[in-house]
């Protein structure tokens, strides 16, 4: 029998969690403007270091986590997250506080995730989407946190993504929020952002 | 020429030095020990543990000493410490039927299995100042009254079981059953925000750490016609109960220690309907330590808050869940009341300005009216 060593978590849990949170906070405060995210983690594939850092900083026993098919297929991923965060792994996206998506192209929309209620719109899922990289074109974004309007893009994203974002915006104040984790960066797309065509 | 007053930092430092000096009191007297507080002011310690939501006599005694005997301040100190402690999980429900009973009285039955046990109580004492206590005892000495006690055992034999009165009348179906343990971890008001309406666990937790005086007044109001519920003390018991924790890693439950609690089961007016035969209802109180007044008040208020579930008319203060539960925490209450001491001069300036402006406008208007009248 082969025992696999569990990948380690933050070397300095207090300060690293704070740094990752601050990056996520600025990312959601400045939608579509990628923030630097320094990570020193080697999580089990296909979980990316940036997505792993966000999960370690934000999840714990109070936050059920949903994993997409690519992540759920690797047992080591769930083991890693459970060990370092204590978060329960759920198969029901509707009860997940966080959802980690390693293959955005496989995503079929946002509606299966928790949308919050009119009374408690905050009780919705935050999606952590693993992407390869960001661009300053693709879509135009407007809304709180953006001075005027800006261009934003990320790859890979499914073709229906702008339509899903528009539908999500129409639900406001209900809706999901997105953190896009790219190489060394994190970008935020909160529900308040309005996405226009290129 | 004007130089603005400064020196907040120095003022605070000096105030704290003065506080320490007053706390120490007369330096020619020995400093009161935590052991003395814990053993001779044990009811104060119990109240601090109950409303501080932390069962630790040593820390409660320390808090009382540090707070110069101000119990709400002591409760605050305990809470601020408690909040930093890690949470390991929820224990199994305490089984008060298995209590090592130190006191047990029932007002509903003259005698009952296990008997009435008065225990250490102020009940039936004559409230006459006892000047013999004014003389300091040396260690090992006890006053006359206490001297007569050593032969008395403090608790009943653990072997003699004392069934709860509510279980006895419950066996006949005369009182509503207490809610079944669903095995779920209860809502924790210290770890998640409360939203209304609340469930039973949230209601009981909030009341259990609520201010004794506040609950006493609200409970009292139900006796004077504001949500009358015809209460009888089914039973009050005080004693030691084991706390048992399921440890998933071990696979079996372990006892992690004993706590002293006071439980009050209030038996209240009966209720029947087309589908259910008449039954007594219950109000429940459970508090750390020997806090009988608090447990009884809690039971009265708990019962009053159940009006909707029992199909009663609302309208009394003690029935108003949002009002009762939002204001029963004395640490919150004292903080917000006392925050009025903080500077508010920016807002006061805004009000001053508005009042002056409106007065100027009013006097200008009346002057104009007078002119007009004079002209007419």
């Amino acid at each position: 029998m082969q025992t696999q060593e569990l990948a380690r978590g933050f070397a300095d849990p207090v300060l690293e969690a704070q740094g990752v949170f601050r990056a996520a906070m600025w990312a959601l405060s400045r939608p579509g403007q990628p923030q630097e995210l320094t990570v020193d983690l080697v999580p089990p594939a296909p979980l990316s270091p940036e997505a792993a850092a966000l999960a370690l900083a934000l999840c714990d026993y109070e936050t059920p986590v949903f994993l997409d098919a690519a992540l759920a297929a690797e047992r080591a991923v769930a083991d890693f997250l459970r060990f370092h965060t204590g978060a329960p792994i759920t198969e029901d996206p509707g009860e997940a506080r966080f959802a980690i998506i390693a293959s955005p192209m496989e995503l079929r929309g946002f509606s299966a995730f928790a949308q919050g209620s009119p009374d408690f719109p905050d009780a919705s899922t935050t999606l952590i989407l693993q992407v390869a990289g960001f661009a300053d074109h693709g879509f135009m974004l407007e809304g709180p946190g953006i001075k005027g309007r800006i261009g934003f893009g990320a790859t890979p994203l499914p073709g229906d993504f702008p339509a899903w974002m528009a539908a999500n915006r129409a639900l406001f104040p209900r809706g999901i929020d997105l953190l896009l984790a790219g190489a060394g960066q994190v970008a935020g797309l909160p529900r308040s952002v309005a996405i226009k065509g290129a | 020429m004007y130089v603005a007053a400064k020196g907040g930092e120095k003022a605070i430092r000096n105030a704290h030095k003065l506080l320490a000096k007053r706390r120490r009191g007369n330096e020619n007297l020995p400093s009161v020990t935590l052991e003395q507080i814990a053993s001779q002011l044990s009811l104060a310690v119990d109240r601090v543990m109950a409303e501080g939501s932390l069962y630790d006599t040593h820390l409660a005694a320390l808090a009382i000493k540090q707070a110069r005997g101000d119990l709400i301040e002591a409760i605050f100190l305990i809470r601020a410490f408690r909040t930093t402690l890690p949470r390991f999980g929820a224990s199994q429900p305490l089984d008060t039927g298995e209590m090592l009973v130190r006191r047990r009285v029932s007002a509903t039955f003259k005698d009952l299995p296990g008997g009435q046990l008065l225990g250490p109580t102020f009940d039936y004492t004559h409230r006459l100042l006892d000047t013999s206590l004014a003389v300091a005892d040396q260690a090992g000495e006890v006053d006359d009254e206490a001297n007569a006690a050593p032969a008395l055992s403090d608790a009943v034999d653990a072997a003699s079981k004392m069934p709860r009165v509510t279980d006895l009348i419950g066996a006949e179906g005369l009182i509503e059953a207490s809610p079944a343990d669903l095995g779920e971890e209860p809502f924790d008001i210290t770890r998640a925000p409360v939203s209304f309406p609340v469930d039973r666990a949230t209601r009981l937790q909030t009341l259990a750490r609520g201010d004794e005086g506040y609950l006493l007044a609200l409970g009292y109001s139900t006796q004077r016609g504001y949500a009358r519920s015809h209460p009888f003390v089914g039973e009050i018991r005080f004693g030691d109960v084991e706390v048992i924790l399921d440890v998933p890693e071990l696979g079996f439950p372990v006892s992690i220690g004993e706590v002293q609690v006071t439980e009050c089961q209030m038996v209240n007016q009966f209720k029947g309907s087309a589908t259910e035969p008449p039954q007594f209802t219950r109000g429940y109180g459970l508090v750390f330590g020997q806090c009988e007044r608090k447990a009884m008040s809690m039971a009265l208020v708990e019962r009053a808050l159940r009006w909707a579930e029992l199909g009663e008319e609302p309208g009394a203060p003690a029935q108003d869940e949002e009002f009762v539960l939002s204001h029963c925490d004395n640490v919150q209450a004292t903080g917000f009341v006392e925050h009025l001491k903080l500077p508010h001069y920016v807002d006061f300036q805004a009000e001053l300005d508005l009042v002056r402006r409106m007065r100027a406008e009013a006097s200008a208007k009346s002057a104009a009216d007078e002119m007009k009248e004079a002209a007419e």
Binding site: L28, F120, R191 | Y345, V346
Partner: protein, 294 residues
């Protein structure tokens, strides 16, 4: 009796689980501007009503590289500001400052600094009563519904009744605002003089109400509109005289009573702003001549 436990506290006092809980609330608050996110506020080692909400938000956000400024009534040297600044110096060892321009996080009670804030700053407000509708409807169950339905008629009625009775909107502080066109929000008890500074502000604004267990936020560059009426537009207070120490105009002034014969002067409530101007040589009518300033 149990032995006395060893007591040691985490960086910035709060334990990591509590920080994560607060951080999650902050992220949701940013995503839903002006909406009050319920959070499980902890007991803090300072009383409720004395800034426990602001302190928890600051503790959850704060990192070792931050430079913290704390003000109360606009001033750095008011006793509660001193106590809170000392708390973070002790528990987090962070650098502190009184200069608005040097701070990365500014915790405030009742004021927004006069110096314009910038993109990399975070303004943390201490909030006593976060619910703008609370004094019109005391029940949380009711106000929650009103927010869900964006039913803010009550608030307009209240403001209009003021106009009918006094000829003015009689709310001078904690003046309600509408954030990003959706939620009506209590800006905390800042004088309405400060309300316009919230609109389209480059800094991130976070609000913490500890006793009431709510966190809310205004992201940078977000529209914040003070409620008003076409025939009674929103107006801020104006002062007849400049600051008696630095001669600034267009700033918020505190009234200082000088004697018992009606003598009074008006000085900047923002002490850092006022000191800066005096250092630059600006002199009000009551100021010491240049070079002699204390």
């Amino acid at each position: 009796m149990s032995a006395m436990p060893e007591i040691s506290y985490n960086f910035a006092y709060l334990d990591e689980q509590t920080k994560r809980m607060i951080r999650r609330a902050i992220l949701k608050a940013i995503a839903i501007p002006g909406y009050q996110v319920p959070f499980a506020a902890r007991e803090m080692p300072m009383p409720y009503g004395w800034g426990t909400g602001g302190v928890q938000v600051t503790a959850a956000v704060l990192g070792p590289d931050d430079v913290l400024k704390v003000i109360d009534q606009g001033a750095d040297d008011t006793t509660n500001a001193v106590a809170i600044r000392g708390f973070f110096e002790k528990t987090a060892g962070v650098a502190t400052t009184t200069a608005t321009t040097e701070a990365s996080i500014i915790q405030t009670r009742h004021r927004i600094p006069e110096t314009a804030l910038t993109e990399n700053q975070i303004l943390v407000y201490q909030v006593p009563i976060p619910e703008p509708l609370r004094f019109l409807e005391p029940r949380e169950t009711e106000t929650r519904q009103l927010h869900a339905l964006a039913e803010y008629g009550l608030m307009h009625v209240k403001l209009y009744e003021d106009i009918a009775r006094h000829g003015h909107i009689a709310t001078t502080y904690a003046y309600p605002v509408e954030v990003a066109g959706r939620y009506v929000m209590d800006p905390s008890p800042i004088p309405k003089f400060d309300n316009p500074k919230m609109d389209d502000c480059p800094a991130l604004q976070l609000f913490g109400a500890g006793r009431e267990k709510r966190i809310y936020a205004i992201p940078p560059y977000t529209s914040v509109r003070s409620l008003d009426f076409e025939d009674h537009p929103f107006k801020v207070q104006r002062f007849a005289k400049p600051c008696a120490l630095c001669a600034a105009t267009g700033v918020y002034l505190d009234e200082v009573i000088l004697d018992d014969r009606g003598g009074r002067m008006f000085v900047c409530s923002d002490t850092d702003f006022c000191n800066d101007r005096q250092e630059q040589g600006h002199r009000g009518e009551m100021a010491a001549p240049a070079g002699e300033a204390a």
